[in-house]
């Protein structure tokens, strides 16, 4: 594996495609209890991320990719999600600072953990408030277990993605306390949180890209 700056950029590029593919679904989820724009806001953000990748210098580090994603969210998105993802990507940049590659499970645990902490600090939500945190947190816990078990990176990320998506589904049962849906209280029960779902899509997308890379490498070796 050689997850260098270029590879991280390719991964984020695919993340952007996957998010845009799910735009309508994310809007639908947000529309049930919120204002129906989450898929649009994420698509605007991810399109800006893709444009910013094109402007990167010829050679760059993984942290440069995260930094420019943060800047893209900062300038183009707004809404709740804009500052939260700006902070998350900026934290990812800091967590990856100076690293040439992100080949280890622990690298990604650190990055995810930094993103999570940034979102939690800026947004001030608690676990159980029916937000991004509620699918992101279990995913990080599964990464922590994978690190302890010395799991292979692709497996660890795949498991984290699966846990995130299952946890996103589980937000249906939660009573939201933060964000626009919060004032609905009990009325929001039964609706899956949009932000928890989009971060799960992102984590799954990253996992799939890394798994593909691994496959290519394995294929090389067995040739």
């Amino acid at each position: 594996m050689n997850i260098n700056g270029l590879t991280v950029a390719e991964i984020l590029n695919q993340v952007a495609i996957d998010i845009e593919d799910q735009k309508d679904y994310l809007c639908f989820l947000d529309g049930e209890v919120g204002d129906g724009d989450h898929g649009v806001s994420m698509t605007i953000g991810m399109r800006a991320v893709r444009r910013s990748l094109a402007d990167l210098p010829t050679s760059y580090l993984p942290s440069d990719v995260f930094d420019s994603a943060a800047e893209a969210y900062a300038v183009e998105v707004g809404a709740t999600i804009g500052p939260l993802y700006e902070a998350a990507f900026a934290a990812a940049g800091d967590a990856a600072r100076d690293k040439k590659t992100l080949d280890h499970t622990s690298d990604w645990l650190n990055i995810y953990q930094a993103m999570f902490t940034a979102i939690q600090e800026l947004g001030g939500a608690e676990l159980g408030d029916k937000t991004i945190l509620d699918s992101f947190h279990p995913a990080i816990e599964s990464m922590r277990v994978s690190v302890a078990a010395s799991s292979d990176l692709a497996d660890a990320l795949t498991l984290a993605g699966q846990v995130a998506m299952q946890s996103a589904r589980d937000t249906k049962d939660m009573v939201p306390l933060k964000g626009r849906a919060s004032r609905l209280g009990e009325r929001a029960v039964g609706h899956q949180d949009a932000g928890a779902t989009s971060i799960a899509i992102i984590l799954q997308s990253i996992a799939r890209e890394v798994a593909k890379l691994q496959l290519q490498i394995n294929y090389h070796f067995t040739l």
């Binding site: 735009k23 309508d24 809007c27 639908f28 529309g31 049930e32 209890v33 919120g34 204002d35 129906g36 724009d37 898929g39 649009v40 806001s41 698509t43 605007i44 399109r47 900062a74 300038v75 183009e76 998105v77 707004g78 809404a79 709740t80 999600i81 804009g82 500052p83 939260l84 800026l122 947004g123 933060k178 964000g179 626009r180 849906a181 919060s182 004032r183 609905l184 009325r187």
Partner: protein, 337 residues
């Protein structure tokens, strides 16, 4: 979805271009998504900066001009603007007398305006914020700080704007903006959904005979869904909610009937007629009034009622002329009536 747009992802950009061009006698562009009054910064005047998601015109940019706001930042549809255009707006209009951000209480707006305020302060600007929370349907009165800001902004902006035109101090403008907000309550009713352009589908669905009382200006669910009824009944119920929240009896008030976008003006006057009758029955004197579209939710059908309880200072300030991009008022001559 049928809309008079090109690529939905270009809509806000093109709208901002058209807006600035159509209002070039009042505003100038001070950033990609920010505008300010032509005369800004105005020496010694506290500047008022407003902003929020697009899709609510005349809110927010439509209120830039004399007597209301000095500058505004445009967000994407139903999305708070990022900090950057808010900062650009603030810097363009701060004469040194200070700036007040007045915006609605939504998570996104709070996040972004707070960050803009921090940055502006670091740059040495005196910036205060007033967060409007007039929507009684969005939280119980015991939890009023979680309430959203909606149609009441028409009165809060005018009162604060008129005060700022008198070259009052930053503290004074902030104080009266707070006072106006605290004395304002709004309740809305939605009859149909709107369509976020880049989504392309109705945000929510209401059955053919259903309405939603307390619906937010983005289609956020309200207090309850009910069967459609004669408007007089609906208004009685909404009015009762307002009265239960703030005692308007025997007070002088500013009253606005706001169309959410898809409701014809004719219906708004039918609503006014009933609200006026209810005011009369409760000894409420309507000192200022406005019927029209002030805070919309794209093409959503529905209306909201905003009432501000006035003291003498607010009532007099509301006589001042207003000349903004989308709301104009000639000087009220001191009436003999």
């Amino acid at each position: 979805m049928k809309k008079l747009i090109n690529d939905p992802f270009d809509m806000v950009e093109e709208m901002v271009d058209g807006f600035i061009s159509a209002n070039d006698d009042i505003v100038k562009r001070v950033g990609r998504r920010s505008i300010a009054r032509l005369e800004s910064p105005i020496p010694n005047k506290v500047a008022i900066v407003v902003g929020g998601g697009s899709g609510h015109l005349p809110a927010f940019a439509g209120y830039v001009g004399s007597g209301m706001a000095d500058a505004a930042a445009f967000g994407n549809v139903f999305a708070s603007p990022p900090a950057k255009p808010i900062i650009e707006a603030a810097l363009a209009c701060d004469s040194g007398a200070g700036v007040v951000f007045i915006y609605g209480n939504y998570a996104g707006d709070c996040l972004n305006f707070d960050r803009a305020q921090d940055t502006c302060r670091e740059m040495g600007h005196d910036v205060e914020s007033v967060v409007m929370n007039d929507d009684v349907a969005s939280a119980p009165s015991s939890d009023a700080l979680r309430r959203r800001g909606i149609g009441g902004m028409l009165w809060v902006y005018q009162i604060a704007g008129a005060k700022a035109e008198t070259l009052a101090s930053l503290g004074e403008v902030v104080e009266i903006a707070h006072r106006a907000n605290e004395n304002t309550r709004t309740i809305g009713v939605g009859l149909s959904s709107c369509i976020v352009p880049a989504n392309g589908k109705a945000t929510f669905a209401l059955a053919d005979d259903e309405i939603e009382v307390g619906l937010g200006i983005h289609g956020e669910p309200g207090m309850k869904r009910q069967k459609v009824a004669p408007v007089d009944e609906i208004i009685e119920e909404m009015f009762a909610q307002l009265m239960a929240d703030l005692d308007y009896r025997n007070q002088r008030v500013a009253l606005s009937i706001n169309g959410l976008g898809g409701t014809p003006a004719e219906e708004l006057f039918v609503v006014y007629r009933k609200v006026k009758a209810l005011c009369d029955a409760h000894g409420i004197t309507i000192a200022h009034k406005a019927v029209g579209e002030f805070v919309t939710a794209l093409e959503m059908a529905g209306a909201s009622i905003s009432i501000t309880r006035l003291d003498l200072e607010m009532e007099i300030l509301l006589n001042a002329p207003v000349n903004t991009c989308m709301f104009k008022k000639l000087q009220r001559e001191s009436s003999s009536a």
